[in-house]
Symmetry: C2
Subunit: 289 residues, 2 copies
Amino acid sequence: MGGSLARALRRLPAPPRVVGWSPDVGESLEALGAAALDEVADTAEEAAGAADLVVYATPLGAVLELLERHRARWRADAVVTDVASLKAPVVERVGALGVASGYVGSHPMVGGEGSGFAASREGLFRDATVWLASGTGTDDARRRLEAFWRALGARPRWSDPREHDRLMVRASHVPQVLSSALALALERAGVPRAELGPGGRDMTRLAASSPGMWRDLLGRSADRLAPALREVCAALEEIAVLLESGAVDDVAGLMEEGKTWARAGDGGGGGAERAGGAAAGPDEAVGGS
Amino acid sequence: MGGSLARALRRLPAPPRVVGWSPDVGESLEALGAAALDEVADTAEEAAGAADLVVYATPLGAVLELLERHRARWRADAVVTDVASLKAPVVERVGALGVASGYVGSHPMVGGEGSGFAASREGLFRDATVWLASGTGTDDARRRLEAFWRALGARPRWSDPREHDRLMVRASHVPQVLSSALALALERAGVPRAELGPGGRDMTRLAASSPGMWRDLLGRSADRLAPALREVCAALEEIAVLLESGAVDDVAGLMEEGKTWARAGDGGGGGAERAGGAAAGPDEAVGGS
């Protein structure tokens, strides 16, 4: 996501200076070569220390570590954010570290199964919901971060971090695990992915996501995620039992119920906050890998 | 699918005369208005009786009924096919009806959650795998049907109908039911689809498919489908248990396994039979709804 962010920033009418750093030097050079970055910092510390907006686009565990490692490095006026899809663990950490005033958490509802600069897309944030975690940051920091995302065409929505995380377990983590579970079941049954039709390929697309990124998220949401996975199992079992008893009209009835739900959400993006606010771009930003 | 077929036929270098019929008059007129059809027949019988290639693009139950109703109507030289995603029930029916020599079953691995002419796409069959059911049809009928699909840019693959159906339970029916089950679980948990990110939306796209079409298919595959759904449940339960015991590295290991499987299938379409054969278009075709 760091790559997409850098590319989107560079296409702003008045682009900020974008300094990047990645643990993978090849990624950094690729981003530089594609003119997505103005500069690659020598170290993560150097990048974090120079920016007025610091973005950690890295797995949750690394975010937590870097916040601790960098907390004495940030400029006094810097806004610090991350893009991990759980916000409570980060909010708790910045509280414990005593650096909550400069931090405001972000979670862009974007991206796919790809990772690395090669998977980056300049328009990734356009019209996308970006959750912002309430409860930390000064008024000024919150205003600046919201304006940052609006400048990229996104639709910021504020939420309590715990409420946000509760929603994400079902809205994001369950679909991911379901795709991986389907992939596993098909692999074990000896069905190669090339034999799937377009629907089956859609359903197993997420299975190609980075286990390294998801590991941290799933570990943190385990308490809520395990029961939520069993809710899906219960629906599957309900259908399996109906099929076995020949109650195919009842199965069609359940599908109709799912269809009604699916159709109601066809509008997409969610928030009502269509980009309409002022769009003041930041002067500078740092994207991790 | 009938609409996409009609549109694709009309774009051939030497388009056949395409006569259509649908139980929904509005659909027929829409197709006629969009120049996807040369003519709308007054009755299904009339359409079926005039064509040298008869295509039933309708749910499986209706295919079985129409084959029985129309069997005395087809021209002696007609090739009859359907596009239902199970082939053994149709092959058995034409055998029982004594009309197997003119029938060859098709199953294009295409389409999405949409239905009706509004969801039709001219290029739907390009590079798509189209399964053809072996065991029925004269040599001539089989050759003509294969040429028909090749002319539309599809990649025909022959299979024993029972083998084909066994594969489809996992490659097509399981992903469909999984999407519906996820939709149900999210609906019951009070999560609207608009709150999902792009991954969650992908995973619930199929849930908007027509229950009327799926009803017949799921009923016919129930014996194999129910256990196959439980294979996915078993994988979900395995992950849930690992999450509860904090074995998050093992979860990442399973995701890695799923990712490897998913990546191996990135090539897409399956068959090695890239359109290379002769492409002799049919003179005429009839699309059902």
